[in-house]
């Protein structure tokens, strides 16, 4: 067993940290305020190869491992939660399913430009009436000759407005037991009848682009089916397992940023004639925060390592996502507490972390759903 990062992993960490500190962190408060999606940063990340980090070179990627990817998400998230979410979604949800399940032709057409950072992709699963219960999808796709005709609605889809294509899940029939057969389809965003709107006013991750999708008789060729048409449901479960590692890494990054601010502030703020970091009550908070962040990070690395080893990682990805998001909320909350009234003011930049981190307990499976996944893995 070896807990040290490889040279490449260290170099990636330093490069991304450097990039994020210079190109993202100074603007994060403004993007949050204006709900601005920093497209130009995604262009730059593309040029540096970050959007293709975990994909092989033959598909335009950098051939990095999942641990390196988790490190990159953490570092970007440490600078800006919203940018971190859009980065994680672009790689884990937009590009990965095509890498996992796409045909060679689909990979060349859709994955390569994403891995090179020329285009972005999105993943549309959630619907107004099908969130945790994704099996309850109502969007339909009906085969008509050589084309599928899609009708329905999706909500809260990350990056869709800037995407070249969205992977959309739709009901294409019923199986022998009367359950919905769900199929994943690659839908170009310029398709006729496909409307994408982004009018949500979000609590946090405001630099991330979040969209509502409406499909009115949208036609795509049947070659756009992604993977096995019968197995769309299992495919997105697998996709989400991978995505959970990145959401966990993002939670660690946001928590790390909040912790660093709290530690520095505690050393500088004088009350009762001494820095508040000299009070045991504050020290214990900081000790707990540092410990919880490190524990979560270790779990993220372990889940990522299992994935890289080709071993089962469903349970560990849920452990990581559940623990990292809940500890992240505690850490961001305590970071504000340590700042007192100043923490409640936007100027100090810690309240943003709490707003951002809340999403980590909801997106890609709520905390309740993570517990269900874990319990199922335990054989309950």
């Amino acid at each position: 067993m070896d807990f040290s990062l490889t040279k490449e992993q260290q170099m990636i960490k330093e490069m991304v940290r450097d990039f994020a500190e210079k190109e993202i962190a100074p603007y994060a408060a403004k993007w949050d305020e204006e709900a601005h999606f920093p497209l130009h940063v995604f262009r730059k990340m593309g040029e540096l190869g970050l959007l293709g980090l975990p994909f092989p070179e033959e598909y335009g990627g950098a051939g990095g491992d999942t641990i390196s990817y988790a490190i990159a998400v953490e570092e970007i998230g440490r600078a800006c939660g919203g940018t971190g979410l859009s980065y994680a979604a672009a790689v884990s949800l937009g590009a990965s399913p095509i890498y996992y399940f796409g045909t060679e032709e689909q990979k060349q057409t859709w994955l390569v430009p994403m891995a090179k950072g020329e285009t972005l992709g999105a993943f549309g699963l959630t619907e107004p009436n099908a969130g945790s219960d994704a099996g309850g999808t109502r969007t339909t796709a009906v085969l008509d000759g050589d084309e599928y005709v899609i009708n329905g609605e999706k909500c809260w889809i990350t990056n869709a407005q800037y995407a070249r294509q969205v992977i959309v899940t739709a009901v294409t029939g019923k199986d022998a037991r009367g359950k919905n057969i769900i199929t994943a389809l690659i839908v170009p965003t310029d398709s006729l009848g496909f409307t994408i709107r982004s009018n949500y006013d979000k609590m946090g991750v405001r630099a991330s682009n979040t969209c509502e999708l409406v499909f009115e008789n949208v036609r795509v060729p049947k070659e756009n089916v992604l993977g096995d048409p019968q197995k769309g449901f299992n495919q997105f479960l697998y996709t989400l397992d991978g995505g959970r590692i990145s959401i966990a890494a993002l939670a660690v990054g946001i928590a790390q940023a909040a912790f660093e601010k709290a530690l520095q502030y505690a050393k500088e703020r004088i009350q009762f004639g001494q820095p508040i970091s000299k009070f045991q009550a504050i020290q214990f908070k900081l000790a707990d925060m540092a410990m919880e962040i490190e524990l979560a990070r270790n779990m993220v690395y372990k889940a990522a390592w299992l994935k890289d080893q080709g071993k089962s990682f469903t349970k560990e990805a849920s452990f990581a996502k559940l623990f990292a998001s809940e500890m992240g909320f505690r850490v961001c909350n305590q970071a504000i507490q340590i700042h007192g009234g100043y923490g409640y003011m936007k100027e100090y930049g810690v309240e943003r972390h709490l707003r951002d981190i809340k999403l980590m307990e909801i997106g890609e499976g709520t905390s309740e759903i993570q517990r269900l996944v874990i319990a199922r893995q335990l054989g309950c």
């Binding site: 040279k7 490449e8 170099m11 990636i12 190869g49 293709g52 950098a62």
Partner: protein
Amino acid sequence: MNIFVLMKRTFDTEEKISIANGKINEEGAEFIINPYDEYAIEEAIQVRDQHGGEVTVVTVGNEEAEKELRTALAMGCDKAVLINIDDDVEEQDQHTVAKVLAEYLKDKNPDLILAGNVAIDGGSGQVGPRVAELLGIPYVTTITKLEIADGGKVTVVRDVEGDEEIIETSLPLLVTAQQGLNEPRYPSLPGIMKAKKKPLDELELDDLDLDEDDVEAKTKTIEVFLPPKREAGKILQGELADQVKELVHLLRSEAKVV
């Protein structure tokens, strides 16, 4: 063109530095490529891309410096050389490092050697010029612009305390980089992944036909200490004339500078 970059791994002076047993405490310090050397690396890559050739990045250091060398390779250098003299030479100074580098470079026929104008740790700014002297080639320090014409004529802009000096010279040449020379690139991900496949040679004193005595430090460090903590400032008040009087008095009696 045969290009060499002299690079140093230094601790990050923006991070907290502590001293233990008369030495900078390396435990917990953050290490980086000396920022001025980053400009040298970037410039070397740009010159190579324009004129062709090869960039070799060289450092005198220990195994830990492999990471910084790999980072330089990830940015785009072609080859790296680590000259590890830690086991052989206990006390090292600018003379040691310059001698080792010059000995390494002397039969490599370098056209252009780039270094940082100063390392942010020791801050002597001597290694580059010393290497050039030992090799018997011209050098220009603190450059902010470098142009190499096809005939081999080199035009350099040099920063002289905020003013500019334009110097014409020729290859082979050693220059040291000043802030403003360029904007160093981030190592790209494909660059990082490729870096591990690029050649990184490790040499020792023996490989250079040098003895300990040849490179023994010529200086002695008497003491290493942190700058005194900055005291809070004082703002004088009252009539201007009184303030001036008070100031002169304080400069004499308290600060003891006049």
